[in-house]
Structures are given as C-alpha cells and as structure tokens.
Amino acid sequence: MRKSGIALLGLIALTAAAAWVLTAPAAPVPEARIAALTPDARHGEQVFLAGGCASCHLAPGATVEGPPILSGGQAFPSDFGTFIAPNISNDPVAGIGVWSARELANAMLHGVSPEGRHYYPAFPYASYARTSLRDVVDLRAYLATLPASSQPSGAHQLGFPFTLRRGIGIWKLLYLNPDWVVDGPLTPEETRGRYLVEGLGHCGECHTPRTPLGGMERSHWLGGAPSPDGKGRTPNLTPGQLKWSAPEIVEYLTTGFTPDYDTAGGHMAAVVANFAELPDADRAAVAAYLKKVPAVAPAPAVP
C-alpha cells in the first residue's frame, strides 16, 4: 500500500514535470537557416500587406497615409478577455526595433517572445506558423524601414485562469499545427493561394469556427463563424455556400465590390485594401484556392 502510494506520488510528479516541459515556450528557429537568407525589404512590404499586420497594429482609428505607424492599442474582445494589440513599430524600447529576424520568426512561427514567453493566440501565429522563413526575413527588413512610436503597449484585460501564460503551452500542443489544412494535389496557383489564405492572410482566424478552447476547427475550415466581437457571423468561404465565380472573388479583393456591387465592410475593408496592393496573380491564386476548399454546409439560419 505504502509502496503504491509512493509510486503514485512519483507518477504525479513525473506527469507534472512532463507537463511543465511540454508547455515550455520553445524558440527553435535555427540561426543558420536565417543567416542563409538575404533580406529584401521591398518584398517584405508584400509580406506585410498579405499578413495584414497594420489592420491590428495601427493605433485605433488611424488611417494609412504614408508609412504605417504600428503603435498598437486596438482592443480585440474575445470569450477569454480583451486583447490589446502591442506596439510593433521600429522603436527599440516600446516597439520591436531591436528584434532580430530570428526573434520575429520565433514569434510568428512558434508564438514565442524574445524573452521566451508564450504569446496569446490572438496574435494569429496558428496561421503565421505556415510562413516561409524567407518571407519572415524580408518582413523583418521592411518593418525596420517604418517609423518608430514610443507609445507603450497596453496590458491585456484577461481574467483567471487565462492570465497564466503557461496554459498557452497546452493550447499550442492542441492547436498549433502548421500542416496545411487543404491537402492533396494542387496546381502551383492553388498552392500559392493556400499559402496566402492558410498562412499569411490568416483568413481562417475569423472565417473558421473555434473549439471551446479557442482552436480553429480544421473539420469546418473556412465554414464561417460567429464574429469575434459577438455581432453576426463571418461568411462561409467554402463552395458549400460561396457561389462567387473566380473573377468575382478577384474583383472583390481588388475593388471591394461584391457581385451585386455592395462593398466590403468592417475588418474586410482593411483586408481588401491590403490585397488590392498585391500582384494580380496573388488575388487570382486566392480565388483558385477557395474553389479547392472542402465544402462546409451553410450554418442553419438563426431565428
């Protein structure tokens, strides 16, 4: 009896130790792979636009006239509390001016800060995890060309237990999966579209429903979801509901016009503004990819 009690205690201790190790923030991007790449700031701007960085990291109400000032401050309410987008401007103290490309890669691909802390997944690293290292290196170079803001980052407004960042380690074990959602043979154009939609564009973050723990439901990929702010739903982008032709999708991402000549609203207006700046081929690639996403049945109408 006593022996089995000790064994049980030992097992608990082992489990706790294993959990502590498994939830530890790892920062595994090797420096050698970064060093092998030559930064291209001009291409980094394309990465910046496709990634929609400014949509969240501009000051509240700011509009882009000239180089964006990424001072942060926008609030993002969620079921877990309100997240405040941080300052990612070029300021060495308030922003991320001193970050290396490797540190940016660890943040975007693994959700880990330079100090070795987990980021909350409001920062869409569950999607950015699919970004190529080349794009991260180019983005780092582009961000260094942008203005600095000394505005300090605001604190997230979260309740217990979500204040415990270590818990994010469990979330990552469950949901940080950089494998492509849409698998199988794709044309080069569809493959590029997949990179933009599943990766940089992080479309799934709003258009895919989430589990109770806040992970994206891969089985309902892009099937539409309740809006994060609680008002209405984001549309289902799969062929199960979206009947727009490829040219109609391209037109929407170029000019903001829907097929009946309404315009994109809300957060999508910012997304369209970004995608309109990308090469024609990228918008066509997104349309081609969306046609390959498995159909999700339309959500039942809410009375």
Partner: protein, 152 residues
C-alpha cells in the same frame, strides 16, 4: 391595395429594407437606398465589363459612368436628417457615427464625386482605363460604408 403590393414588391430587392415603408424617416431611408441602388446598377454595368462577363462597349460604359457621376453630384443632404440611424429605423444600417463631429461626410462625398469623374473619363477611353478606375470607385463607396454602416 394593388398599388401597395406593387410598392412593396418594388422594395424587395433593397437589402435590409424590409421595414423601410414604416416608421420615422421612412421616406428618407427609402430614397437614399434607392440612390445607392442606382449607383449599384451603373457600377454593375461597368464591373461586368471589368470582370470580362460582358464585352467592352464604350457607349454603354459612357452611359453608366455618366449616370454614376450624375448621381454622385446630387445634393442628398436632406435625405440624411440627424437621428435617421439604425436605432430610429430598422430598415437602415446607418450608424450614429455618421452625424458625429469630425465624421467628414463632405470629404467622403467629394471622394465619390472625384472617383466618379475619373470613371467618366476612363470608361469610354478603353477597357484597361475602365478597369483602372474601378478601385477608386470601390474605395469611395467603402470609405462611407466602413465608418458609417453597421455590419450585417
């Protein structure tokens, strides 16, 4: 009765206007949604050419672009009385922000007039020119919708 049915049917294509025929500001809301639809019909003619759904037709493009510019030059200020927002009338998605200080509705209206004028020059000149002017029109529409229209 028949007239009422016809009038009601006429309203059906207007998104979000199921109740536009009732309540305070009903006429204003109906009129401004009609003007929006007038824009959409003409932009639709231009957009179909831009997307390649319809062959480029310089004369038809000119008619549509002239109509758009004509609509954008109308004084519609009397259709937007203070308080005619979505809280006052269920058929409109207009946000109270439209009447807030610093909303710069005039600047946004000018953006639409400028974009429509650019389209007026571009549409009869050639398909590439027409295509190039579409984004300016879309941006002008979105400028108001983004700030002043509730998400559906």
């Amino acid at each position: 009765m028949k007239a009422l049915v016809i009038a009601t049917l006429g309203l059906l294509p207007l998104a979000g206007s199921a109740l536009a025929e009732e309540g305070p500001f009903a006429s204003q809301v109906e009129a401004r949604q009609g003007i929006m639809r007038y824009y959409a019909v003409n932009i639709g003619t231009l957009g179909a050419m831009a997307k390649g759904e319809a062959p480029y037709d310089a004369a038809a493009a000119k008619v549509a672009a002239d109509a758009l510019a004509g609509g954008a030059s109308l004084d519609t200020s009397m259709l937007w009385p203070k308080g005619s927002d979505k809280d006052a009338h269920p058929g409109t998605a207009a946000l109270p922000a439209l009447w807030a200080d610093g909303a710069d509705v005039g600047g946004k209206a000018k953006q639409l007039r400028d974009a429509a004028a650019a389209m007026q020059a571009a549409a009869p000149a050639g398909l590439d020119q027409l295509r190039g002017a579409m984004k300016g029109v879309g941006d002008a529409c979105a400028a108001c919708h983004k700030d002043f229209r509730a998400e559906s």
